[in-house]
């Protein structure tokens, strides 16, 4: 088994709303896989199908080699799940929660539990209902990491958290990255960029692309061309150029298949006499904005 998660044309319909349309993705083992997209894109729906909280309308999904619709009971001993809107047993203290969950997991690591408590500074004697949002997420994460899960699934874990707490959570996750596959959904691209190895973009229930973050960042560039006289823009422009625009004698576009030699040759083919060609790397946020605005699939 090389994939921790595999989906094949996964779809989900809620009455007339198609929350997911033909989602096909492959999450390699040991990856830190980020599923990103705007609010309402279908990220939470996809995760809940993977966790067998929802049933899919069509398509298949496998999690750790098991059909997701059969995930229950003992299968969950290897999966950790944390969600921003999960209803925790508010009447329990943090310590009581950990003590209660401990016997459910044969692989529970007491030393790791103690380390997580210290790392997250969890107040063991305080009830969950009296914890701040960030502390509650840390308690949930600790209770989902202490048994060395093979797969950690996080649904919008950073929403509403301050940067310090986010940083603590990310560090807590990255410490486990070697032994686990991490699947995280978020619409916070800045955070994802700092630790994800793979990224998939979901929009209106459809998967726009899915690839390694390094190759994604590598193939996108902002290109700026400077001319002596304002040039005519080509019609049509090359497919891999997005948001082609001109302001006086400066032409700008986003290149989605960047290669220094190939891109330079293509620029010179389209614009024979540019005075200057400049390539700038793009942040994940800029890449997604460009894709969203162009309405094109860069894959």
């Amino acid at each position: 088994m090389t994939s921790a998660i595999q989906t094949d044309h996964l779809a989900k319909k809620f009455r007339r709303v198609e929350a997911l349309q033909g989602l096909t993705l492959d999450v390699p083992q040991a990856a830190v896989y980020a599923l990103v997209g705007p609010n309402g894109a279908g990220k939470t729906t996809a995760i809940k199908i993977l966790m067998n909280i929802f049933r899919s309308s069509s398509g298949r999904a496998q999690v750790l080699g098991i059909d997701s619709s059969h995930i229950r009971g003992r299968h969950l001993e290897s999966i950790g799940y944390v969600s921003e809107n999960q209803e925790m047993p508010e009447w329990m203290t943090v310590g009581a929660l950990l003590s209660y969950l401990r016997p459910f997991y044969p692989a529970w690591d007491h030393a790791l539990e103690a380390a997580l408590i210290k790392q997250f500074e969890l107040p063991l004697d305080r009830k969950l209902r009296h914890l701040s949002r960030g502390m509650r997420m840390k308690a949930a994460l600790a209770s989902s990491l202490a048994y060395h899960p093979r797969l950690i699934v996080l649904d919008e874990p950073f929403t509403g958290l301050d940067p310090l707490v986010r940083d603590e959570l990310i560090h807590g996750l990255l410490d486990r990255a070697e032994e686990s596959t991490i699947f995280v959904s978020s619409h916070d691209l800045a955070e994802i960029e700092t630790f994800a190895s793979h990224v998939a973009y979901l929009e209106a229930g459809k998967l726009r692309f899915s690839e390694e973050l390094s190759s994604l960042v590598e193939r996108f560039r902002e290109v700026e061309l400077t001319f002596d006289v304002p040039p005519a823009l080509p019609q049509p422009s090359p497919e891999n150029w997005m948001q082609l625009s001109a302001a006086a004698a400066v032409v700008r576009f986003t290149e989605s298949r960047f290669d220094p030699d190939r891109t330079t040759a293509e620029v010179r083919r389209v614009f024979p006499e540019p005075r200057n060609i400049a390539f700038s790397p793009m942040s994940l946020r800029s890449i997604f904005l460009a894709m969203a605005k162009s309405g094109r699939n860069s894959a």
Partner: protein, 520 residues
């Protein structure tokens, strides 16, 4: 080490709900205390006015209501502690085994609802001088009735709702459905014939509840489970309304109550009423009440009859014919009885057509025959005494002049107490005329079938009081059962069902319109 999830979850639930458990048990103890106090209260001893508050008259009723409510609350809380509705529950992504989770919840209910209930009932029996060991089967039966008549259904509803508010709303809808079905049935009802409810219907209904519980715990298919419940309610409503509309034909009634020509269990003859005493009962709801006095004879000495229902056909000389539907009844006929009354209602417009001349009245009377088994003579002693196959009794002279009894788990299945009015050893009231000899009074005590009657207390108080009418004083009186009064006790058993046909010719309906009683 693999955990025993049943005990682990059970312990967690105790930690979570210990306050609710304590409140429920406290209510149970209060119930027991109030129940013991109520045993000594005889029939007729009711406080009024300010005494209601001062005597705590309302308290037993309040606790009787609150105790099952506390059980309902506890069961709903325990089920919804790991809610099966929704997609945000913390536990659904943890390695719970659904069978062990369900077992943990069942263990909780057994431990903190059924077991305390059972123990308190055993204590109450012992306190009332009934050894609990002798009534183990009945005590367990009582627990099973509560489980299958209430707890299972409550659990099913709790599994398809995610809050107490939602569950209460579901209960409200079910109650409204029952009220609606009942109202509709009463509006469209064509006859009073009611088919008996087969035991397998109860099994089916319970089966649906169990199915809902299993579907929810194993698969959390909430929409499907809710539809199962809605479907069952709709089916029961439909059947209830349809059966109220159904009119069994005469042949099917005759099959249930076969005729035995020449061997009728009773002989009845119309008695003419020339005196026309008493005022006519006014026409109400456009219906005229007809009352035919009949002579009664021929009932075997060791038996008696219950008139279950009648069908009347009236025919005029010019061929006009009117048929009543089955009319339910519950009059009793005893061997010592000389007269009875056959009554029925006729719509006014039909009456107006029939009154012009004499009619022929054909009756089909459906009787259940009872054999008086295990007859024994019993002289009521002083003080407390054991009534055979019944319980502990004592005479009560302050309010009703009868016998006040406590029975373990259920009243007698069928106890008939008879006595000659003239043999009462109670001092008659000054205005009461002495009773002639050979006029018997009968009082029934009928309990529910099974080892125990549904309820909370295992001790069933009941009273045996003879009721009679004093014609001279025009008021009800009780001839009284006092120490020394001889009684005849028996346990009647159903000996069969019989139909009797009776024809009365030249009946003038005007002559037999029902009147208020004027006296003997």
């Amino acid at each position: 080490m693999k955990v025993n999830q049943v005990l682990h979850i059970f312990r967690k639930d105790i930690r979570h709900l210990w306050r609710e458990i304590a409140a429920s048990i406290a209510l149970l103890v209060a119930f027991a205390w109030l129940d013991i106090r109520s045993w000594s209260r005889p029939y007729g001893a009711v406080a009024t006015g300010i005494s209601v508050l001062l005597s705590g008259e309302m308290l037993p009723g309040l606790v009787d209501f609150l105790l099952p409510v506390s059980w309902i609350f506890l069961i709903v809380r325990i089920v919804q502690g790991e809610s099966l509705v929704g997609d945000r529950q913390f536990w659904v992504t943890r390695p719970y085994d659904w069978k062990q989770l369900l077992a943990a919840k069942a263990l909780f209910v057994l431990a903190f609802v059924n077991l305390p209930f059972f123990l308190v009932d055993a204590f109450l029996l012992a306190y009332a001088s009934f050894h609990p060991v002798h009534y183990i089967v009945g005590l367990l039966w009582l627990q099973l009735m509560w489980i299958f008549l209430l707890f299972v259904w409550l659990t099913a509803l709790a599994t398809v709702s995610n809050s107490i508010a939602q569950l209460l709303f579901a209960l409200l809808l079910i109650v409204l459905d029952v009220i609606g079905a009942s109202a509709l049935s009463s509006i469209i009802q064509k006859s009073e014939f009611s088919a008996s409810v087969n035991w397998w219907w109860g099994l089916f209904v319970t089966g649906v509840a169990v199915t809902v519980i299993l579907v929810q715990y194993s698969r959390r298919r909430t929409a499907l489970s809710r539809w199962l419940i809605v479907g069952l309610c709709a089916l029961l409503t439909l059947i209830s309304v349809a059966s109220s509309r159904a009119t069994p034909d005469r042949s099917s009634i005759v099959r249930q109550y076969p005729l035995s020509a020449g061997n009728e269990p009773v002989e009845l003859g119309l008695m003419r009423n020339d005196k026309h005493e008493g005022q006519l009962i006014p026409i109400y709801n456009n219906e005229v009440l007809i009352d035919l006095p009949v002579s009664v004879s021929g009932i075997s000495k060791d038996s008696f009859l219950r008139l279950d229902g009648t069908i009347v056909t009236l025919t005029t000389s010019n061929g006009f014919r009117w048929d009543s539907e089955w009319k339910a009844n519950s009059d009793w006929l005893f061997p010592d009885q000389k007269t009875a009354h056959l009554g029925f209602q006729v719509k006014q417009n039909v009456f107006d057509q029939l009154r012009s001349g004499p009619v022929t009245a054909d009756f089909f009377l459906a009787f259940t025959l009872y054999e008086d088994k295990r007859r024994q003579e019993f002289i009521v002693p002083n003080g407390e005494f054991r009534l055979p196959d019944t319980g502990l009794c004592k005479t009560e002279n302050q309010y009703s002049r009868g016998i006040h009894c406590l029975a373990p788990l259920r009243k007698p299945a069928f106890l008939l107490v008879s006595s000659d009015k003239a043999n009462s050893t109670c001092l008659p009231a000054s205005s009461q005329t002495p009773a002639p000899r050979g006029v018997f009074l009968h009082e029934f005590v009928q309990g529910q079938p099974g080892p125990a009657e549904m309820g909370i207390s295992p001790v069933r108080p009941f009273d045996i009081v003879f009721s009679d009418w004093d014609w001279s004083a025009r008021r009800p009186v009780s001839p009284g059962i006092c120490p020394g009064t001889p009684l005849t006790l028996s346990n009647p058993e159903v000996a069969g069902h019989r139909g009797v046909e009776l024809q009365m010719n030249n009946v003038s309906l005007d002559e037999f319109r029902e009147r208020n009683p004027a006296g003997p």
